[in-house]
Structure formats: structure tokens, C-alpha cells
């Protein structure tokens, strides 16, 4: 099959439309909003992953004012189940089930040059999609876990409001959680396998 630009564009639109359903806005009662990813969901509850810095203010108020807004605009109160400021990850719980959990990709096998895209709320604009490639795979010390792990660097344009949102591969699977945003053209995401390890090893409230 010879790829044509219009077919690629259509494929892009389809993958993004499917992935958007698993991305939420995080409102903290203060100014600005963050993004989050529906990590798992059963009949009654769902868990959402985001950055610890997104919910830091709300966590200090015992979660008062913390709300999640789903892709279909349901507004649900949320509580912080766990947080790790060093990894910059937080897990939120909501009492709403049956939500579309994100497809989680294998972030141990990434390659520089892979197509990626991000969904988030840059500068408070809801559900904005930006794209680019994996620019580099850098080994950084993950202080919270006492070992090193690769961080994903990308040239995807991100802004405050993308924090906690997903970095997705060409199939729409989550390969990272956007964390540090250096402004403009170099963004850093926490690989999804690190997120999964952190969730698996946590002591939930």
C-alpha cells in the first residue's frame, strides 16, 4: 500500500478521536487546569494518573475542590489516592465507573524518530492535540525509585495545561505522561512502564 498524505491524515484523525475519550481535565479549584489519563476503570470506580504538581495545591486542602472533567463533559469530584512529588506522579480516584481506560503502550521499546502526539489543555484550552516525534531517550536518575530510567524527550509543542496528559504513539497507546515542559520545543515525559511500576508498588489510601 502506497501511503498517501490524505490517508495518513485520516488515520491520524481516527487515532486521535479514539484516544481523546481517555483523557480528562483536572480542575483543582485554583487557577489553571491540568490533564490526566484514565488508567483503569471498573463498574463503579476509575483511577486517573496525572502529575503530582498538578494536584499539589488541592492535596494540601485534602482534595477540596478537586474535580475531573471527562471527555464527554461529566464533572466528578476526585480524591488523591497517592502522590510522589519526586517522580511527579499522582493517582486520583473517582466514584464513576465504566469509563474508557487508555490503551497503555510498551515504553521499554521506544525509538528516536517515532511519531508521537499529546492531548492536553495548553493554557486552559480544552483537548488540544499536538504532534511530533521522540527526540531523544535520556537516562536520568529517578530519585524516587533509587535507580535510573529513561525519560522521553519529544519535539511536541506543549504548554502548562498539558501536564499530566498523555504522550501517545502512532497506535494511540499511552507511552508516557507529559511532565516537565521546558517551553516551546523540548518536552519531557515519564515513560508509561515507570508509571505502571509506581502504581503497582504503591500503598493506596
Amino acid at each position: 500500500m502506497k501511503p498517501s498524505p490524505s490517508a495518513a491524515a485520516q488515520a491520524f484523525a481516527d487515532v486521535i478521536a479514539a484516544a481523546k475519550a481517555s483523557v480528562v481535565q483536572i480542575h483543582t479549584g485554583g487557577r489553571g487546569i491540568g490533564a490526566g489519563v484514565i488508567w483503569r476503570s471498573d463498574a463503579a470506580r476509575s483511577e486517573i494518573i496525572t502529575n503530582a504538581h498538578v494536584v499539589a495545591g488541592a492535596a494540601r486542602r485534602n482534595g477540596a475542590g478537586l474535580r475531573v472533567v471527562t471527555a464527554d463533559n461529566c464533572i466528578i469530584p476526585a480524591r488523591v489516592l497517592a502522590g510522589d512529588p519526586q517522580l511527579d506522579l499522582a493517582l486520583l480516584g473517582i466514584d464513576m465507573g465504566g469509563l474508557p481506560a487508555a490503551k497503555i503502550g510498551d515504553s521499554t521499546r521506544l525509538r528516536v524518530g517515532e511519531l508521537v502526539f499529546a492531548i492536553g489543555n495548553p493554557w486552559g484550552q480544552a483537548s488540544v492535540v499536538t504532534s511530533g516525534i521522540i527526540s531523544g531517550l535520556d537516562s536520568m536518575t529517578m530519585r524516587g525509585m533509587g535507580r535510573t530510567a529513561p525519560y522521553i524527550r519529544s519535539d511536541v509543542l506543549l504548554a502548562p495545561g498539558n501536564s499530566g496528559g498523555p504522550l501517545l504513539d502512532a497506535t494511540g497507546a499511552v507511552i508516557g505522561i507529559n511532565a516537565m515542559i521546558f517551553g516551546g520545543d523540548l518536552s519531557v515525559a515519564i515513560p508509561s512502564h515507570i508509571v505502571a511500576e509506581w502504581i503497582a508498588g504503591g500503598n493506596w489510601l
Binding site: 501511503p3 495518513a8 485520516q10 528516536v112 524518530g113 517515532e114 521522540i134 527526540s135 531523544g136
Partner: protein
């Protein structure tokens, strides 16, 4: 099937990065941020001139983490190109892409650290040229602009197509942090000259001139403009050849000279050190002088 196609595109871009990555070396030639170089033939590496802040103790680091000493074979500040020789380099040389077209997918790839290559995505934004480089007499016959991000240390790196073949060498050395890509064929031409003689020969006459419209009497054929000589440098090739202030330069070796770019083009490379026929209009009368083209340092 649609998602597969997107995945195939993604894999192809990663393959492209992997392919060029083996030909890219990290170049240690300045105190802080290392830069990149492209292996293009045998032991030779093409890099940006401005990233070589010293001439000794240069090293490169290959994709398989070998650190090797490098010597400058030649360098040319005006095109911002330099050729290094690296004994025992033994890495695959970069493939050259077909001529770039505006809109093509392009990846900027560099090796700014020992951690592996970095890449950014964009398209071929513009193909321009010929352009004079700064105030020098060097011209770049063609250049490429891209919207792919040039990360720190990408100078000397490659802009590649979706197969990993190099459109050209990327540099931010021409100011304002903007990336300019010197097309591979243009860069290799300069590299050829640099490996032969260590520098690029650029001819000069030693005149200051300005463009003037020719009167019907001075005009021949379709030529509309000439260059009025307003100054002749002392002991210059022009003075020795008998050029005078007030002469209007019309042609060199039969090539019409309409503007300064024509003059520069007429003085390139192999004409240096050789006598050329310079046709001028002096007091309304055309005459031909012989000038030996000088070497500009």
C-alpha cells in the same frame, strides 16, 4: 489498516533516524556543548566551521562509542563548513537524498551528547539561493530551510528525508539561531576543495563598484546593467590590469556582469591566478583589458 499505516510511517521515521545515526559523530571542538559531524567518505567528516573553536585536541565520538582523534583538513568560515580527518573512523557514510522539494517530510538529526542521537520533525520549508554569505564574496548556490527544531549541538548534523538519506548539513552558524541546511551536493563540492587545498579559493579584483543602468550607446545585446568602478585598490589585480575609476565593467571572459553577484560568480575557483578578459566601457568606448584574478584570503 489505517492505524497500521500510521504505525508504518512512525516506524519508517525511526528507521530513517537509525540509518543516519551511524554516520553521525559527536564533535568535541569547543568548551561546552559538543556538536555533530557527518561521515561522508572514508575517514572524512563534514562539520560546521563555527563549532571548531580550537584547532588542536579535537575528538569525535562514534555511534558505537569510540572516541577518536580528529584533524582539521580544511575549513571555510564563509560557508561555515569544515572537513575533519579521523583515522580509523570506519562508520557507514551518509547517503545523499534526491533534490529536496518544499513540503517533504524532513528530520533534523544530531549527536549532541554521548547519550545517542536526537531528532526533530518538520518539513522542507524553503529552497533558496544563490545567496551571498554575510559580507564575504562566498556564495551558497542553494540552501534549504526547515521548520524542524535545531537543538543545541545540532550544527554539523543532518537534515534527512523519510528514508534517512541526507538532504544536507544543518548549521545555525549564520546567525539568529535559525537553521540553514547546506545541500549535500553543495557541501560536498566545498569539501572536495577543502580536502584538496585546505581552503576555498575566491578570486578578487580589488575594486569597489556600483550597479549602473547602461545607456543605449554602451549597451550590447540584452545587457541592461553594468558595474561602475568607483574605487581601485592600490596594487590590486585591477590596478595592475589597468582598470580605472569611471570604467563600467561589462563582461568577464564573455560572461555579462549585470551586478555584484555576477562578478563574484565570474571570479570563482579555477580562475584564481589566471588572466581573464575584462570588457569595460571607458568614456563610452568599449575596450578589453587583461586582469590576473587575485586570491582573496
Amino acid at each position: 489498516m489505517d492505524a497500521n499505516m500510521l504505525n508504518a510511517l512512525s516506524n519508517q521515521m525511526a528507521d530513517a533516524v537509525e540509518r543516519i545515526a551511524k554516520s553521525l559523530v559527536m564533535v568535541n571542538g569547543r568548551p561546552r556543548q559538543p556538536a555533530t559531524g557527518i561521515a561522508y567518505a572514508g575517514d572524512f567528516v563534514l562539520t560546521a566551521d563555527h563549532v571548531l573553536e580550537r584547532e588542536d585536541n579535537l575528538t569525535v565520538q562514534t555511534h558505537d562509542n569510540r572516541v577518536l582523534g580528529a584533524q582539521i583538513v580544511g575549513r571555510d568560515a564563509s560557508t561555515d563548513l569544515a572537513v575533519l580527518r579521523v583515522q580509523g573512523l570506519s562508520v557507514p557514510v551518509a547517503a545523499a537524498a534526491a533534490e529536496a522539494r518544499v513540503g517533504q517530510i524532513a528530520l533534523a538529526v544530531g549527536r549532541p551528547s554521548p547519550d545517542g542521537v536526537m531528532a526533530s520533525l518538520g518539513i522542507v520549508s524553503k529552497i533558496g539561493g544563490p545567496v551571498r554569505m554575510g559580507r564575504s564574496s562566498a556564495t551558497l548556490e542553494r540552501y534549504i530551510q526547515t521548520d524542524a527544531t535545531p537543538y543545541p549541538g545540532f550544527s554539523g548534523g543532518a537534515l534527512v528525508d523519510a528514508t534517512g538519506a541526507a538532504f544536507g548539513l544543518l548549521t545555525t552558524g549564520f546567525g539568529r539561531g535559525a537553521a540553514i541546511v547546506i545541500p549535500m551536493d553543495v557541501a560536498l563540492k566545498v569539501a572536495g576543495t577543502l580536502t584538496k587545498q585546505g581552503y576555498v579559493k575566491r578570486g578578487y579584483l580589488g575594486i569597489v563598484s556600483q550597479q549602473v543602468k547602461l545607456s543605449p550607446a554602451q549597451r550590447s545585446d540584452a545587457q541592461e546593467y553594468g558595474l561602475l568602478v568607483v574605487r581601485v585598490e592600490e596594487n590590486s589585480p585591477a590596478e595592475k590590469g589597468g582598470l580605472l575609476i569611471g570604467d563600467i565593467l561589462l563582461a568577464i571572459e564573455g560572461q555579462p556582469i549585470n551586478d555584484a553577484d555576477d562578478l563574484i560568480a565570474a571570479l570563482q575557483g579555477d580562475r584564481v591566478g589566471k588572466p581573464v578578459a575584462v570588457r569595460v566601457s571607458r568614456g563610452g568606448v568599449a575596450q578589453t583589458l587583461t586582469v590576473v584574478v587575485g586570491q582573496k584570503s
